[in-house]
Amino acid sequence: MSPTPSIMSQPSEAGRFGEFGGRFVPETLVPACQELEAAFTEAWADPLFRGELDAILKEYAGRPSILTECHQLGARLGIRLLLKREDLNHTGSHKINNVLGQTLLAKRMGKKRIVAETGAGQHGVASATAAALMGLECKVYMGAVDVERQALNVFRMKLLGAEVEAVHSGSRTLKDAVNEAMRDWVASVESTHYCLGSVMGPHPYPWMVREFHRVIGDEAFAQCQDRIGDVPDVVVACVGGGSNAIGIFSGFVDTRARLIGVEPAGGAAVGRGQPGVVHGMRSYLMQDEYGQVLEAHSVSAGLDYPGVGPEHSYLASIGRAEYPTVTDAEVIEAFQLMARTEGIIPALECAHAVAWITREAPKMQGQTILMNLSGRGDKDVGQMMEILG
């Protein structure tokens, strides 16, 4: 008898996770998506490619990332709290895992240029970094609102040799940066790879980006076995598009652990959305009564997105993962709490996970909670300085 397939196995041939996903792109991009799917499928099965990627992840990105126990905060909340320290990767977030995978693949496909979208700037910085390393030209689209609130990351990208274009259309945040990156790709598809930054977009991106982040869950699973001899009771991560959450969920989806993806109250695609189609995928989406996509509003630029990756919609629809929300006020509180109690400044995105844990701790007394600390908060210090006065 063959073993039961994982809940997070390969999507269907049409790129579906249950009824979510797909490939809703302009005709111009269909051959590129097909070519990418074939190239990734082949590379992912090639030990040489895997070996090369593993070596870069280790020697350049600094993997494996460590597991840190929060003794003070855990004691205060009455739980055992473990952090998967993706903030310690090179460039300061989990985004580097995906970007190194995609740029290595882009080179293998003979592409000379990458385009990327970015919200908080973490994916943009990671893309600019990998492009510098691999000798690729790089252009990053970033909403004008985010350019303003993440000025430091904009400068970092430029230092790394990338061109950054501020996007002034629509809500001038992540959603519009994706639109503009897609428009660029439609025009440049023959020479350019679209280095999409989350588990979203048209097939094969949600699947491919998940596979590049699977390393987070694989490492964390082994580290938990080592440290606590068991799986944690709860695995928590923040969700915008959902790449860091998918990464850590992948290690625990077939265990008894509860999976929690925390969305911002102002960008709750699963919590407040309905199935819709934008950016190449069918997934939960915040939209009005006519299907116009609503603007998300969150203190965190990285989660300011009205949609969510299709596999999250699937996990929600089958009840395997839960997607609660936290407010900006709770997030700002949690950001400071982690800094003061543990000496770790989390990215505002991750502070969403901290906020949920803090709020729900009374119902989880004595339990072990694993949280993906997917990015460091240095980039948010300027913004917090303004908020806190």
Partner: protein, 260 residues
């Protein structure tokens, strides 16, 4: 459905009579937009494409993006635009251009029925490629709405006959690698793809995206059966209203009629 649909029948008849097909585009819901449609109809349009504005128009360049945003800001919705279409007194067939979520949200059957009762002949859905188009196309067929399929320069040869087989009304031959908007010259891909399509289908082939003036329209029509005029029409409408549209459509019409 049996035989050809009414849009294809009509366009074939015009083509076979030696006429090049002219398809001006208007963003629905812009203040005064129905006057723009009337002006296009009165000055030689064969079909008029009406854009239903969407919050995230990934196939559109700056001009149509701006028009869409303006229409949305003035309160336009798919329902309000279809209601205006219903009462629009023009003889020229009207088709809509809409992004797929505009269809997906109400549902395929319901949206097809909304188009049918508004008197819309066809639909162009730029983010619904062949592989994802089945359920919508079936619903549209049921309601007598022609789904106009797009073909892009990146398509390998084997893909084109499959697209043409699914096309109703005409095939929208995407003129270049890129989004809608005016360019200084016609891309070589415009006539290349039209030629490849003409080699595999007898469905009318109409080039759109990047056909920017009368001269480029004539150039495209040396191979193709017609052209869509999008950003060039919308820009004139926003600058000088329905008169600007009427003058421009008449100019392209005359060029096509004498040009070949």
């Amino acid at each position: 459905m049996s035989g050809l649909d009414r849009l294809e029948t009509r366009l074939r008849a015009s083509r076979d009579a030696g006429r090049k097909l002219l398809v001006p585009y208007m963003t629905g819901g812009l203040p005064g937009w129905t006057d723009g449609v009337r002006a296009a109809a009165a000055n030689g349009a064969d079909v008029i494409e009406i854009g239903l504005p969407f919050s995230d128009p990934v196939m559109d360049g700056p001009v149509i993006q701006e028009a869409s945003q303006k229409a949305l800001d003035s309160g336009a919705t798919p329902v309000s635009i279809l209601e205006e279409i219903r009462t629009l007194d023009v003889e020229v067939p009207l088709v809509v251009m809409c992004y797929y979520n505009t269809i997906h949200h109400p549902g395929h059957q319901r949206f097809a029925s909304m188009l049918e009762s508004a008197g819309v002949w066809g639909a162009i859905v730029p983010d619904l490629p062949l592989e994802e188009s089945g359920p919508w196309c079936e619903a549209a067929d049921t309601h007598g709405v022609s789904t106009i399929m797009l073909a892009a320069p990146t398509a390998p040869d084997a893909r084109l006959p499959r697209i043409c087989a699914r096309a109703r009304g005409f095939v929208y031959s995407v003129g270049l690698l890129g989004v809608t908007g005016e360019r200084t010259s016609l891309a070589s891909t415009a006539t290349e793809l039209a030629r490849r399509l003409k080699a595999v289908t007898d469905v009318p082939v109409i080039v759109g995206v990047g056909v920017s003036n009368a001269e480029q329209a004539v150039e495209a029509c040396r191979v193709a059966d017609g052209v869509v005029q999008g950003a060039s029409v919308v820009r004139r409408f926003m600058a000088s209203g329905a008169d600007g549209v009427g003058d421009y459509v008449a100019e392209v019409r005359q060029a096509l009629d004498r040009g070949i």
